[in-house]
């Protein structure tokens, strides 16, 4: 049973990938979906056995490689962390599979798509069930590869190609960190399986008491943790390496749901949680983790507020939520982080899939400015997205409330990172703001759709709505149900009630603010020209002067300031520009000018093949010139050398 949870997704991936032509689109959909559903059921059983009955299971499969000092096994480790991750991954993935049979219907390459989805799920399961870092790395690279394949699913689109390459390459930056961390761990601990490392770490504390006789060097531990964190930064899209995440929206919507809700971005957080004992040994690394997580949460929230693409808003909100998870990891509350991860998976999958449903309904239009007024046409999707958003902003009694408020309270409790608390709280406000903004612009405001599109808006088929319904139940109840299981060991900090309600108040404030602002603006400016309304709201009335009749109006300094701020946030703090301009471009230049032109084509060729052949050819030409064809020259040469020969012979 334990191996079945791995085996089934692999089987469905292989069958659907290799024999997709035989089983057809419908067959591929049914096969892969049912395989993943069974896998989800099996992982529920595993959850029952390993968490509720608290009996962790280790399955040693076979010996992988074996040298004098180091042995690696293929082994599976099912403890409570793995079981919870398994539930999250398989259930969300199963729903995404079912969803994509409906969403992708009509696409000519459904078997391939389902195969990739299943392969992704399989590799993610490999990642979470591995018992050592090497095997974890297989899953780690595998999900990167699958994200490439999935983002690039519509491979004829150049933007999808670019986004996929970006995702793969930026992930690779983090992967280097993970590899270096693995090497360093091997050098320090002599092993790569978790059980050995963590037992050595527990020895380490003992060693500290007795003058550090046993154990690991503190500095190298810090290096290991920072390198591991670099890996997590790449995978979980933390500040600095986050730019791939919004671009990954080029893939189909179920892919975004899978990558951003349950699997890929959570892998980085999973790595931190799994390496928790290591991180515990290095306070410095923990502080770095907290600060970067808080910055990411804040950054992504500010950016999400001004995005106009429906999916990008949700993508930045993912980035922000993952920032929360990382932040609370830095405060050593790994179970809270895991809890948030679990809750987040449900409501973010719900949000993405509902967004997909909306996009499906409005004929593949993703710009929120061109939507609006869908409340009457697709009330079911509206309800789903409302549940998801309320859960996301931490509305009481919904899933997000249980983890998000706890995270903020725990952050408040650690007085030395008050900075992170305020960033986190502020991003809670912004989260509420952009969630409400999304709902308002998509559903409530006057419509900006074309008439022919608006008349055709409809709810989708059952295989799109059913996953939404199930995820909505998840978004409502998972937090309450999972609370005792996951965070039973977290002691809520002793803080006053006034502080305790701050996040809630901020969230409600943000939501109300968004509603009031957008409502008022709509009423003031009337129902004409929704695009212009929107432009006015965000105070960029002069950005697109083609839309605006006040083209020649004198800009007030406030407008200019708003314009600058809006552009700054809308372009995601100019990270893409900075990275492209200062890093990528220079690396390219270096690659072309220095390594290619100077070293490869220059130095190496000159002292290498080209230079040697040049010298040899000119030498032989000079020598062959001595053979002039003139007999007297030959005679002279013969005599000279005969003289040399004779005299040399006599000398010697």
């Amino acid at each position: 049973m334990y191996i079945l949870v791995l085996f089934l997704p692999l089987l469905s991936a292989i069958i659907s990938g290799l024999f997709g032509r035989k089983i057809g689109t419908k067959g591929a959909g049914v096969l892969t979906s049912s395989c993943i559903v069974i896998s989800a059921l099996v992982s529920c059983c595993i959850f029952y056995e390993t968490v509720l009955n608290s009996s962790a299971a280790y399955v040693k499969l076979w010996r992988w490689f074996d040298s004098e000092l180091f042995t690696a096994y293929f082994g599976l480790q099912f403890d409570s962390l793995t079981a919870i991750m398994l539930i999250v991954v398989t259930s969300v993935s199963a729903l995404v599979h079912i969803y994509s049979t409906g969403y992708m219907s009509g696409d000519p390459h459904i078997p391939r798509f389902m195969s990739y989805l299943s392969l992704f799920t399989f590799l993610m399961i490999v990642l979470v069930t591995s018992e050592n870092y090497v095997q974890l790395f297989i899953g780690w690279e595998g999900v990167g590869l699958c994200s490439y394949l999935l983002i690039n699913f519509w491979l004829t689109r150049i933007k999808a190609n670019k986004a996929a390459m970006k995702a793969m390459l930026i992930n690779r930056v983090g992967d280097i960190g993970l590899i270096l961390a693995m090497i360093k761990i091997l050098a320090e601990f002599g092993a790569l399986d978790f059980s050995t490392i963590y037992s050595v770490m527990s020895l380490n504390e003992w060693g500290d008491v007795y003058s550090n006789s046993v154990g690991v060097n503190k500095d190298s531990l810090t290096i290991i943790c920072l390198l591991l964190f670099l890996g997590a930064v790449g995978k979980s899209a933390q500040l600095g390496l986050h730019t791939w995440l919004p671009d990954a929206m080029e893939g189909p919507t179920p892919v975004s749901a899978l990558i951003h809700a349950a699997t890929m971005v959570t892998a980085g957080v999973f790595l931190i949680i799994r390496s928790g004992p290591l991180f515990e040994g290095s306070p410095f690394a923990l502080t770095v983790v907290t600060i970067l997580g808080a910055l990411t949460a804040f950054f992504a929230a500010t950016t999400g507020v001004v995005q106009n693409d429906l999916k990008k808003v949700i993508a930045y909100s993912t980035c922000s939520k993952v920032g929360y998870m990382v932040m609370v990891c830095g405060l050593s509350n790994y179970s809270t982080s895991l809890f948030h991860l679990m809750n987040h998976a449900f409501f973010k999958a719900l949000l993405f899939l509902s967004a997909g449903s909306v996009i499906h309904a409005v004929s593949d239009e993703q710009d929120m400015r061109k939507m609006g007024g869908l409340l009457k046409s697709i009330p079911f999707t509206y309800t789903m997205i409302l549940i998801g958003s309320l859960s996301l902003m931490g509305f009481p009694y919904l899933t997000g409330f249980y983890s998000k408020d706890l995270i903020l309270e725990l952050t408040y409790d650690k007085y030395y990172v008050a900075f992170a608390y305020w960033l986190g709280s502020f991003s809670a406000l912004l989260t509420a703001f952009y969630s409400m903004r999304l709902i308002y612009l998509t559903f409530i405001t006057d419509t900006n759709l074309k008439k022919e599109v608006l008349t055709k808006v409809h709810e989708s088929t059952w295989n799109i709505t059913l996953p939404l319904l199930l995820l909505a139940f998840g978004s409502i109840f998972v937090g309450y149900l999972g609370k005792e299981v996951v965070i039973s060991n977290v002691i809520p900090p002793m803080i006053s009630n006034s502080v305790k309600v701050v996040p809630l108040v901020l969230s409600l404030l943000g939501a109300l603010l968004a509603f009031v602002i957008y409502d008022r603006v709509t009423r003031v400016t009337g129902a004409k020209g929704g695009i212009r309304n929107f432009v006015r709201v965000n105070s960029i009335r002069n950005v697109r002067s083609s839309f605006s009749e006040e083209k020649f109006e004198q800009k007030s300094p406030w407008t200019q300031l708003f314009h600058v701020v809006y552009t700054f946030f809308n372009s995601a703090w100019q990270f893409n520009y900075v990275i492209n301009h200062f890093i990528v471009k220079n690396v390219w230049k270096f690659g072309h000018l220095v390594t290619y032109r100077i070293i490869d084509r220059g130095i190496l060729e000159t002292i290498g093949p080209k230079g040697i052949s040049k010298v040899l050819i000119s030498l032989t030409q000079t020598i062959s010139n001595y053979q002039s064809g003139m007999v007297f020259n030959y005679a002279l040469i013969m005599i000279i050398f005969t003289t040399f020969f004779i005299s040399g012979a006599s000398v010697l």
Binding site: N625, Q627, S628, G629, M630, V631, F632, A635, L636, I639
Partner: protein
């Protein structure tokens, strides 16, 4: 005694060599220079056979004379054949086989 004649032989030989090396105009002069060199060699053989009182030098000289006669006959034949083909016997024009 007779040692001073050795110098004559050597000088004759050097003249022959110089005749080959410096001559650029006429192929016949080259043949004549070769004859001169062979003559010098034969002369040296004779002197040495007298100096060391040994007959082998003279026998050798006879052989050298024979070889020289045959060589000049073949050389002249080549020269005639060459002249028939090229119409000139200048050494300078003998450069078809340059490297």
């Amino acid at each position: 005694m007779y040692y001073e004649y050795l110098t004559v032989g050597v000088i004759l030989f050097i003249f022959g060599v110089l005749g080959i090396v410096l001559n650029r105009s006429n192929l016949i002069i080259m043949l004549m220079s070769i004859e001169l060199m062979l003559l010098a060699i034969a002369f040296l053989f004779l002197i040495n056979s007298i100096v060391i009182d040994n007959l082998i030098g003279e026998i050798f000289t006879l052989m050298v004379l024979t070889v020289a006669a045959a060589e000049s006959a073949i050389g002249l034949a080549i020269l005639v054949a060459y002249y028939r083909v090229r119409g000139t016997i200048a050494v300078k024009s003998l450069n078809l086989l340059r490297g």
